[in-house]
Amino acid sequence: MCADYNPLELLVCVGSRVIEDNSTVFVGTGVPMAATMLAQKLHSPNVITIFEAGAVAPQMPGLPISVGDSRTSYKALIASTMNDVMEACQRGMVDYTFLGGAQIDMYGNLNSTMIGEDYQQPKARLPGSGGANDLASLCWRTIVITPMDNRRFVERVDFITTPGYLNGKGAREKAGLPANTGPYKVITNLCILGYDDETCRMRIESLHPGVSVEQVQDNCGFELLKAKSLEITPPPTQEELRILREEVDPDGYIIGR
């Protein structure tokens, strides 16, 4: 890893690049907020950000601490209800959701609820779904941003908080989730992962500078597939890093500086 940026900065910069202008993006707490703000300042000024407490498309004067705070409704187009924005997702108006990481398996199922076996008395209780289950069920494409290691990337999550492809192709539709939705990309500090069309299993699509397939596989608790042609992720640019550090997160809430 190059000394010019830390893993979180890499995550945010790479994450910001997948955000298309004029698309609707439902943004979760933390790294996704920073990545979205960076994209807005660089290449996607008209990305429509949606926050789960009810705000749409603010002109954020600084990084929100919460997806429900007053930065998220600052000069927004509408400051509405959670019900309204969740219903926009259910109606099919939201292209992407951008979720933070937790336990994840080869089908992109996420756990943010608990570690252990006993639901009423878990080894570790985590916050729960928040809006993650809703967003990953109802938005068209789910992007996960998370650091990669084999405690996070596991064979079987202890609890499916948030649906990926469940147990394979067609399982989402069979369960009753809206058609043609599901995991799209996983952005990590080592690589960009996608999903195989046929098996719905996670695959490596782009390696970050200096990272090998072996290194990625070593940090993953299940067997990864590989895209036909692997790309090399361009490293964060000076401009990305400057805007991230100076304008997006000067207090270091997300990137930890």
Binding site: T81, Q120, Q121, G176
Partner: protein
């Protein structure tokens, strides 16, 4: 893999609130519709309207527009066996879980403080069997309130299905009679008491959320059997009538109104003041240990007479003016 989960037709956990709309209607039938003065004190609001065993739900977003004075008074009055909707809850559910007021919780988000990390005290409380749990998503609880506000017993939705969140809920599934498609069926959630902090209210309880997001408060206020409002400012009844489109919560939902300036501290109050990040850091550091937790609750709640004393303790109006400066983009969060 996961076969037992992905095709499940009903959640297996406990339903904490009766979703029967005829039972709710029988309650609402007798709810007072008169335009009467409901202004009271924090002590009275909690003493009169919150009973041991009640199921409560809190407005706002867990650390945004929260009714801190009421929450602390519930702890101070040692209310017990409360149920709670852990809907976008943060500091609110932490206080009630940590202080031992809560014995059951419909969880969609607890313990976490968004980008600040987790609360150790909330984690200890929610890891214990002392709090019976079910899990839902934020959308699920938002729609459960909406179903109750509409006087229904259930509402269909298209999420949760196929996951452990569904399995560990009390949701069921239903087949659409028009398309034959499978939907989740969410049970209506009629809380006994909702507690909501707003910008302005009149003495009858007509309430205005004037800035920021609504979360699910319009639905929650209508769903709850009783509603306690705290407000930054009381306003005259005529001011409400001057702009009826601005009324967020009509008086007939409301049972008690308390004027509590700075009432969302340490939470953000949109348009008024920003988060008190120093306080949150102090809190999250202090509750890492059980002794620290005990110390915090003694010092900030049990040994504090009322919310005015609490505001003095956290730095008084001078501190609130600083937080107002950050909210208004005059200062940055780091001074």
């Amino acid at each position: 893999m996961y076969e037992d989960i992905v095709d499940l037709d009903a959640g297996i956990e406990e339903l904490f609130c009766d979703p029967d709309p005829d039972n709710a209607r029988a309650f609402f039938k007798n709810k007072n519709r008169g335009l009467v003065n409901k202004v009271t004190s924090v002590e009275q609001a909690v003493g009169v309207h919150i009973n041991d065993g009640d199921y409560i739900a809190v407005g706002g977003f867990g650390h945004v527009r929260i009714p801190t004075a009421i929450l602390m008074e519930i702890v101070r009055q040692k209310k017990r066996n409360l149920g709670m909707a852990g809907h976008t809850s943060i500091y609110d559910s932490d206080l009630l879980a940590t202080a031992g007021c809560m014995d059951r919780c419909d969880i969609s988000y607890v313990i976490g403080y968004e980008i600040r990390g987790l609360s150790a005290s909330a984690r200890r409380a929610f890891q214990s069997k002392d709090i019976r749990k079910t899990d839902w998503s934020n959308g699920a609880l938002a729609w459960r309130f909406a179903a109750a506000a509409a006087g229904l017993s259930f509402i269909p939705s298209r999420h949760m299905l196929g996951t452990d969140t569904f399995k560990r809920s009390a949701a069921r599934s239903i087949t659409c009679p028009f398309t034959g498609k499978k939907f989740a069926a969410l049970p209506a959630l009629y809380p006994d008491v909702a507690i909501i902090h707003v910008h302005e209210a009149d003495s009858y309880g007509n309430s205005l959320i004037k800035d920021g997001i609504m979360v699910s408060d319009p639905q929650l206020a209508r769903a709850a059997k009783r509603v306690i409002i705290t407000c930054e400012r009381l306003i005259s009844h005529d001011e409400v009538r001057a702009n009826p489109q601005a009324t967020t919560i009509p008086y007939w939902c409301v049972d008690a109104v308390v004027e509590v300036p700075y009432g969302s501290h340490p939470g953000n109050m949109p348009g008024e003041y920003w988060f008190d990040e120093d306080y949150f850091k102090m809190y999250l550091d202090t509750v890492k240990t059980e002794e620290g937790t005990e110390r915090f609750y003694q010092e900030y709640i049990y040994n504090v007479k009322n919310f005015e004393d609490y505001i003095e303790k956290i730095g008084g109006v001078r501190r609130m003016i600083e937080l107002r400066g950050i909210e208004k983009l005059i200062f940055t969060n780091k001074g």
